[in-house]
Symmetry: C2
Subunit: 427 residues, 2 copies
Amino acid sequence: MTIQIGLVGTGTVGGGCIDILQKHREAFERHLGVDVELARVCSLSSAEAEAHGVGYLFTDDYHDIIDDPQIDIVIELIGGTTIARSVVLEALAAGKNVVTANKALMATHWREVMDAADASGKDLMFGASVGGGIPIIGPLRHSLIANQIDSVMGIVNGTTNYMLTKMAEENMSYEEALAEAQVKGFAEANPSADVDGYDSAAKIAILASIAFDSLVTIEDVYTKGITSITTTDLDAADDMGYVVKLLAIAHRMEDGIDVRVHPTMLPKDHQLASVGGVFNAIYVVGDFVGETMFFGEGAGAGAAASAVMGDVLDIAERLEQGVPPKETHLCTDQLPIRRIETLSMKYYIRFTVADKPGVLAKMAAAFADNNVSIHSMMQRGAKGDGRVDVVYVTHVALESDVRSAIDHISAIDGLLFAEPSVIRVEE
Amino acid sequence: MTIQIGLVGTGTVGGGCIDILQKHREAFERHLGVDVELARVCSLSSAEAEAHGVGYLFTDDYHDIIDDPQIDIVIELIGGTTIARSVVLEALAAGKNVVTANKALMATHWREVMDAADASGKDLMFGASVGGGIPIIGPLRHSLIANQIDSVMGIVNGTTNYMLTKMAEENMSYEEALAEAQVKGFAEANPSADVDGYDSAAKIAILASIAFDSLVTIEDVYTKGITSITTTDLDAADDMGYVVKLLAIAHRMEDGIDVRVHPTMLPKDHQLASVGGVFNAIYVVGDFVGETMFFGEGAGAGAAASAVMGDVLDIAERLEQGVPPKETHLCTDQLPIRRIETLSMKYYIRFTVADKPGVLAKMAAAFADNNVSIHSMMQRGAKGDGRVDVVYVTHVALESDVRSAIDHISAIDGLLFAEPSVIRVEE
């Protein structure tokens, strides 16, 4: 039996999938006993299909794939939550199995697409939606399933990790690092999804949903990007033995899920601290397995296509064996999401203040009045223009208390020269 | 339906399995829809079963488990290749699914036990045989299956990694490091399986068999342990920008498989270089996914039990769904094993020689006569007793040529004071 694949979206990742099918089809048959064949490809133009030598499979109407009774598996790689959502839902309704790399779709419409898969009795797999080629969803659903997962923390956005690495190691400004990332093709012309943290937020929503078996959507994720990070902060972090990473974090707490994305200070000896450049890594703690980490290329045609085709072959093996789809991820539990204001952690806070007597006393009083205990205070070089940077690291404090303290300090007349820089600290 | 588990072996890992079943049985039913129950435990004495509160399930005859028609899955955790082999083969013959953590059994009797699983139509899973709790066999078989795997390299023995870390960071001698590892319970009274590399050899045989889908047994693995490593070598490595790790290595080559275990110099910026202490890590390169790495606790009750129970739950889900076993690992390809003498790589070689004129010229001639080109030569401090250490790093050279050169140098009368120390270099 030949399993027919319909591919919707022939961009970078789609091209990688075509390459894999062309290069390894014979190996898949030999090793796995499954014969998978690319039957149709859909895109806006035929140029990419032609460039990969499959112009004869081209259509610009995805219904040609969904309406084709010979096609067993539909790969959705167009991204976004509008047409992609229709493709996925219509494909499932038409009795196709679906593989998608669409993090935005999964992080926004999880329940809808999962219910559609359930109703159709077909498989919906999305291993490439998080971490590019890094195997993480499979291990969470299988090898690690005997654990209660307590934490998932990751560097899941290569663009921002590349920028932060350049800023830290080559003293580039945020703007320089962004420009270089754009030149190298790591950042888009409009970099908001990366630098504002939304890409990471979608990914941690998906990871948390699986790890905790409880639905987390992108709206549940407190999200802050890296746009306000300066080399001053990175230097200060370095002096204190930390690196700054844009972390996607999900912790199981006694009374709910803590899930957030923000620049984070990590001790230099943390496993995630040494993950540089465009690489991604996901750190998982389970109650029996202890600490584990998964590392690899988080983006790029080959890595993402590897994950997509891994899912395709999983489904193909089940079709070949005549076996029903895997249980969908039902998110059995309904754990509440902890609002960030209710969380307690350590904070790095940098103020640019007027360099005059009494300033430190006023700030100290504001912290004390709001129950924020200070671990260390450090002046980082007077600027010679009547301004000075003052860096505080707090003890563990309640986010809402820290915010109140900052509000109080900000309200002191003539004290601050800029928005304070706040970076949460993860030990 | 309740899936009944028979556990053979109630040591550290077995105890961890009992703990997982007791702690998470309800969660497994809720999240996965499978009810797994510990039905019987077998060991030499009932003490451990009693310590875990399951003395009432104890038997000292494993046939009580194999002959019990109610039992669906047998977990073999007694280790070794004698009784364990009988347990696995008899369990399969009796129609049980089997989960084992037994690396020696799999690396020695792969074909026999796989054929037995095939004949019985039952599952045989062994995720815990490599890397403790680190998910690696699952990802190789699923998420990464669309790749041609080109390399698998790992630190897969926690004992030796702990010792090498202590020697490098605290300047301990081999003997001191071994003694401390024994005190801490990381090394056994007879440490041979660890320090001589056999444990790593069994694991890389299993990993290579899966990664290349071609049978590799422990006999195929060139194996050298860490017993001759000295702090002098670790210091020299450090000076040159390297660390020394006991690596298990498997490379796919054009004309076969290169598979070996030996102390290896790795550049400090390699992902595996920072893996210290008892941690394990496995680095995998695939033709589409690129570089990936899997990190975690390689031993310990919880980690290994996590992997065992992950396999048990995989089988339980299939039993619950009425689905046939996964295809066994048939090792379709029959790739030849490349003998180490035919491989080419870089070498670190330290000689302790007579500190007198002409010595270096004789050694240089021996290298040149055997086609070994030298990249660097360094004297490491005269010992003041007429002896001096001379360290060479070669360019890429053929192993057989390097051996000839060393033989020639060793044969020079009155030159060497000790066996040369040879460490292969991986870039």
